[in-house]
Amino acid sequence: MDTRFRLIWWTIVPLVVIAVPIVLRENFLLHAVNIGGIFILASFGMDLLYGRAGMLSLGNAAMFAIGAYTSAALVIYSPVPWPIAMLLAGAAAAVVGIIVALPALRMAGIYLGVATYAFVLIVHQFALQWDKARAANGLFVPKATIGPLAVKSPTTWYWVWVVVVVTILVLSRNFLRSRTGRSLAAIRDSEIAARAMGISLFTTKLLVFATAGFVTGIAGSMYAHYLGFIYPDSFELNMTLMLIAMPIIGGSGTIFGATIGALIVSLLPEVLRLLPGDLKDFKFAIYGMIIALILIFEPTGLVGIGRRFMGLLRPRGLLSTVDEQSTSLDNLQLPKAGGSLDKARSFPRTETEGSPSNGTESLTALKITAVTQRFGGLVAVNQVSLDVPEYAIFGLIGPNGAGKSTLLNCVSGFYRPNSGSISYRDIELTTLPSHARARHGIGRTFQNLELFSEATVIDNLLIAQHTKLTSNILTEAVLTQGVRKAEASARDYSMEILELLVLTGVKDRVASELPFALQKRVELGRALAARPSFLLLDEPATGLTPTEIDHLAELIRMLRDYFGITILLVEHNMRLVMRLCDHLAVLNFGLKIAEGTPSEIQENEKVLEAYLGTKSSQTRNR
């Protein structure tokens, strides 16, 4: 954001915050603002799940309810003071969050929405039963107290929620801009790529649900004590709709959006009250209509509309052109010596110093032994064995459907072979989950591009360093010295890679907006950012023009020569393969039919037959 803009922003916002209670005094508008303010955290919690992590959770009302009821119960039945009760309520709601997270481990999309909504219904039923057990209709909640101070008046409440909300949002902003926040974007955009970068889906999903639960529970606690009376029906369908409406209307994926959304949705009934007739009873319908309109025309919400006005967001559907010159690979330069890219150079296995191309002994990097992969009745990979030597550029070729990509997926851990074993530098990979293999230095690119499409180019590279950074959500929230240093160094490293790949001009662009060839390069840069010692490249030349393919060849050669990375390349483009690879293996119908140098392969009868076919079926062997 523009620094001038920033200055204006950070002067206006505090002024507005201070002015509000003074201007509004104690009237109903302040009350509405308070409700809105209390919901900011709930809206933010919803946005963490939906906008940031891409998961539709309709169960947040359950977390909110548990927060409210826990806080109320603690203050009623125990000597715990309200601020502690509020934190405990947050913790309880975090636990509920973890339970609500369990379906997210097994399903996604709408099914997840339905499954999580079931929790709201269940909590609602239990709340109803608790009412019945007490022979009451709802629960009276005692006023909150902070020490000796009773929090009663709307103005006092205003300042309470401002302090709580601002604190939590500031802490959250910190972790959202660090490793944790990026891992959420990763699982939203591509679970597959996230796994390949070493991100554990299990841990990340539970963590984000717990966090959402915590902040939602705190909101619930404030809600209960502010209103002084809670009843089960208020935590059901209507609240669920409000909670999803808030970040959508405001602008999902941004803190500001979640905040504005909460305020608007809460102030709406008051605005409607000023209108003629009894429209305010239809506030939910209005929410519905606004949601519908926004989702149809501007799914990025008010924030998106605002950005569009300020010209920062391009009109939808129009890709602004990327300056060809600024990203041309015509003059590929080797990295500067002594830069942080040196960290990526991995030559641990040679005894002689320097470039591996001068006669190092050929130790085996990747050993594939008799791997078989079946899908139902189809044998996609049939007892294939391969030894990929260190520092080789090893090509895997074969006709369509030969099993090449399947084998690649076995190596990176997305498929579990039915038999056989795969080891890398004597480490047995076969039992390791995909996200664990990244830690051993295995990186990859994908045939159908699995970029984190809504993240910027540089964020894509930062996400790749997930396993190299050691911060966690707590250290990131408070932005310790260590975290700051680690982030800065990760950023520097990413910049150097971007310079190398001539992508600095587009570093802040959203990945999906780039032309196809650049996206492929970003994916390569992302794979490189993880500092791999072994790279799996899945059809990197697809969709590239001949010139781009030549550049690609140069890049790949540099990866091996300068960085010492061993490369296993699946490719159809024979020009690229024959020029670049020093070893080749040919698969056909899941079997390895030939292995050798490119010139050997080109003259191999079986290979010719596999690719060009034969007239007679008798000579074809399977």
């Binding site: 006709p399 459907g401 030349a541 159809h572 024979m574 080109q602 690719y611 060009l612 076919g613 079926s617």
Partner: protein
């Protein structure tokens, strides 16, 4: 002068970001088998999809029996006499064989006069006759291929587009499929435009061939000439 069934001039097409075809030109004469060869990613399937109407045309023209069709809807093209058998068959797995075949005749106004068409298909593919009420998803690959071709025939096409008919089939079945294709040309007077990876087999039954590379037509000529041309090998295996 043999009648021209299909004429494609300078076709450019693609998917979203990717321009798969840059400038493809080809002609198909009536009553012939023309094959399109080329390595993976060369643009063969995209060419067929543009001709039938699944992929919109960015530039260039397509003429079918003298009429421009590149701006017409897919349904219209099917009604005019084009039919396509997609790569990997794409049968409707939960429908029966018979229902699959009926779907091929969707653009025909009435479904009660389909008996002669069913007869033709079952004459061509005798195993399907036995399996007419079987759910298509339970058929073997070869049988599904038969269903897919039969389905395309149900719209009474003049030009049949085949995308990799031998893909994933055992050699024995490939022989049978190729025999069928020849019969379609010789007995049913169909014109066939066929994309194939198996260059050798394709060239053995085709009359004419085009070789694509990276979205352009790199070579073309009578099939028997191309079958012995060294450049074909290099376009496939690089050099």
């Amino acid at each position: 002068m043999s009648t021209e069934m299909l004429r494609v001039v300078d076709l450019a097409a693609g998917y979203g970001n990717i321009r798969a075809l840059h400038a493809i030109s080809l002609d198909v004469n009536a009553g012939t088998i023309v094959t399109i060869l080329g390595a993976n990613g060369a643009g063969k399937t995209t060419t067929l999809k543009s001709i039938v109407g699944l992929v919109p045309v960015d530039q260039g023209t397509i003429e079918f029996q003298g009429n421009r069709i590149d701006k017409r809807s897919l349904a219209k093209r099917v009604k005019l006499g084009l039919a396509m058998v997609p790569e990997t068959r794409e049968v409707f797995p939960s429908l029966t064989v018979e229902e699959n075949l009926r779907m091929g005749a969707f653009t025909r106004p009435r479904w009660d006069s389909l008996t002669p068409d069913f007869d033709l298909v079952f004459q061509l593919f005798t195993t399907l006759k036995k399996r007419r009420r079987q759910i298509a998803g339970t058929l073997s690959g070869g049988e599904q291929q038969q269903v897919a071709i039969g389905r395309a025939l149900m719209s009474q096409p003049r030009l049949l587009l085949l995308d990799e008919p031998s893909l994933g089939l055992a050699p024995q079945l490939i022989e049978e499929v190729y025999e069928t294709i020849c019969r379609l040309r010789d007995e049913a007077n169909l014109t066939i435009l066929m994309v194939e990876q198996n260059a050798s087999m394709a060239l053995s039954i085709a009359d004419y061939a085009y070789v694509l590379e990276s979205g352009v037509s790199a070579m073309s000529g009578p099939a028997d000439e191309l079958a012995v041309h060294p450049r074909v090998k290099s376009l496939y295996l690089g050099n």
